[in-house]
């Protein structure tokens, strides 16, 4: 069953994460200052904090390092005139279908990002599975200074089946 992640959902998630983060911070302070009043726990529910980053980030980064970093670089800023930047790119942060098309089929038309044309061809990555593509797409939309809604595995699967009958 597809779970639609809307802007609202993202906001709620981020809000929750923020709360968790704050909890973590408080806990850290408690550790450092065990005598503070708040360290006295009386029947307070225990909250297990596993991670404050979305699940796609770790695998998305792995996919990025293996497939994208050599051209788009560790900082996502690309290479001047050759390989376009990930950061602040409309092709990354904008329409999801357009981004998925580039990820699946590559691009060899000289994309213009922030007024500069980038000349190298990008190969397609249709051989990666839906999870890898969803995670790396979501990763680049939320890394290097970008902050955009993620792309789900179901959205990638739907795109693949519509493009490759």
């Amino acid at each position: 069953m597809a779970v639609k992640i809307t802007g609202k959902a993202i906001f709620s998630l981020l809000f929750l994460l923020g709360v968790f983060g704050a909890c973590n911070l408080v806990k850290k302070q408690e550790k450092e200052n065990p005598d503070t009043e708040s360290s006295v726990e009386k029947g307070a529910p225990k909250i297990e904090i596993v991670s404050d980053t979305p699940a796609f980030m770790a695998n998305g980064e792995k996919v990025y390092v293996e497939n994208c970093l050599v051209c788009h670089q560790a900082d996502g800023k690309g290479v001047s005139g050759l390989n376009p930047p990930i950061f602040n790119s409309e092709y990354v942060n904008g329409d999801k279908s357009r981004l998925l098309k580039i990820l699946f089929k590559g691009s060899n038309e000289g994309l213009v990002v922030q007024g500069t044309t980038y000349s190298n061809a990008m190969p397609g990555f249709a051989t990666l599975n839906d999870t890898a593509i969803a995670h790396v797409a979501s990763y680049i939309r939320n890394s290097f200074g970008n902050s955009t809604d993620s792309i789900t595995i179901e959205q990638v699967a739907r795109f693949r089946s519509s493009e490759y009958q």
Binding site: Q73, A74, G78, S80, G81, G106, G110, T117, N120, P123
Partner: protein, 438 residues
């Protein structure tokens, strides 16, 4: 023509710092060069951040130039700069230093096209867009007479984004040599795609992937009128005619992505340094072997490209020429200049300076290049190992991503006094390297 003075407060500041530096330099008994006008060339504070051999100094003669690619200096010391993209409709800049302090104080511009190539032969200036080569005539002061009406010497050259810059040089005998880069990394059916097969024979080579020769005295030449002078060159950005031995020399950018495309044959570390960036001496009809082979500077052999059945060890290209010098991979040799001046010490005369733009394809390994190298030459042959001549352009110890670098050496030119000019298309600066020791 749009005249623009660039005597800004910043430049005044540089001058004041320069005067202070002059005091210290004089104190070290390294007398600065005195120019004809009586002014004194004074290195920028800390040599503008460049690291140079003892006795050399650097002046940052201009900044905020946009993306300066190749450069040429006329016999009066006026500097022509080809811009990658026009700035305010001007794709060629003309800079002049009227008071002889090294800092340029006149800036003009013309030519509404972007590009890379530019060179001067006698009273002619040649400049290229990515499809055409234009010819200009200079007056007795070295100023272009026909800035808006150049001769179209060459037209209709292939430009398919990748390796599209048409770098050029001339032999002084009526011939222009123009690079037409291959619009491909390794001639795969799908460029840079894992598993995509290579094309055999590589169809790109009929109209790109080589050096074409044209005449300087004919208009509207294209492939039909030109000669494919040399082939099997993936992308040459640096070209210079060596007048000592009357030969064309070129620097080729070697192929990318050995590890990305063939991880089972090349690990990340090997792929960062292979294949070699190469300096070739070219005769008419030469074949340097791309895409079928690459040069391995460690094995000192021409190795069969993995797309064409290679395994990293199998040699190939029996009919392909060997490089004159092989440098470590991906450093991007963007300009070549044989030094004929008499300002620098004797060992530099007739040697080759090479501007390395700096790598990107070494990622995730640290990048390399971002410097100007020197190869001593004797009778048209290297007489020693290559060495780093000018370093420090990046402004950092180790470059991880190219965009972190402050400057990237792009073009080279020799001034009439023997100064070496270096352009930088990352920071938009122009440097002048002088020898200050007596």
């Amino acid at each position: 023509m749009n005249l623009q003075s660039i005597a800004t407060g910043h430049i005044r500041k540089l001058c004041i710092c320069g005067c202070l530096a002059a005091f210290f330099v004089t104190g070290c008994k390294e007398e600065p060069k005195t120019m004809e006008s009586g002014s004194v060339l004074v290195p920028s504070p800390d040599n503008a951040g460049l690291k140079l051999p003892e006795g050399f100094g650097a002046i940052q003669v201009a900044e905020s130039l946009g993306k300066p690619r190749h450069i040429a200096v006329n016999s009066q010391g006026g500097i022509y700069i080809k811009l990658r993209e026009p700035v305010k409709g001007q794709g060629i800049l003309y800079l002049e230093d009227t008071d002889g302090d090294g800092i340029t104080d006149i800036k003009e511009g013309f030519g509404d096209y972007g590009g890379t190539g530019i060179c001067i032969v006698d009273d002619h200036l040649y400049a290229s867009s990515d499809e055409q080569v234009f010819g200009y005539t200079m007056d007795a002061n070295g100023k272009v007479k026909n800035p808006t009406m150049p001769d179209t010497l060459v037209t209709g050259l292939i430009a398919r984004r990748a390796h599209e810059s048409k770098s050029l040089t001339a032999d002084g005998s009526g011939n222009l040599y123009v690079n037409i880069g291959a619009y491909s990394n390794a001639c795969q059916v799908e460029d840079r795609k894992v598993g995509s097969p290579a094309m055999m024979p590589c169809p790109i080579l009929d109209s790109a992937g080589g050096i074409w020769r044209f005449r300087t005295d004919k208009l509207n030449q294209s492939y039909g009128e030109g000669v494919r002078f040399a082939t099997g060159l993936r992308n040459v950005v640096g070209l210079d005619w060596n007048h000592e031995v009357n030969k064309l020399f070129v620097t080729q950018h070697g192929r990318d992505m050995l590890n990305t495309l063939f991880p089972e044959l090349y690990d990340v570390e090997t792929s960062a340094i292979l294949p070699a960036e190469t300096l070739y001496m070219l005769d008419e009809g030469d074949d340097a072997g791309w895409p079928y082979i690459y040069y391995d500077q460690q094995q000192k052999k021409k190795i069969q490209a993995p797309e064409y059945g290679g395994d990293g060890k199998k040699t190939g290209g029996e009919n392909a020429i060997d490089p004159v010098v092989a440098f470590p991979g991906h450093m991007a040799p963007n300009a070549l200049l044989f030094y004929t001046g008499d300002m620098f010490p004797e060992r530099y005369r007739n040697g080759a300076f090479i501007a390395f733009h700096g790598s990107w394809n070494r990622a995730p390994e640290p990048q390399a290049g971002y410097m100007v190298a020197f190869v001593p030459f004797s009778n048209g042959k290297p007489s020693g190992d290559w060495e780093v001549f000018a370093d420090g352009f990046s402004g950092m110890q180790e470059v991880l991503s190219p965009n972190d670098a402050a400057h990237r050496p792009t073009g080279l030119a020799q001034g009439p006094d023997g100064s070496l000019y270096v352009s930088d298309d990352q920071g938009g600066s122009l440097f002048r390297i002088i020898y200050t020791k007596k």
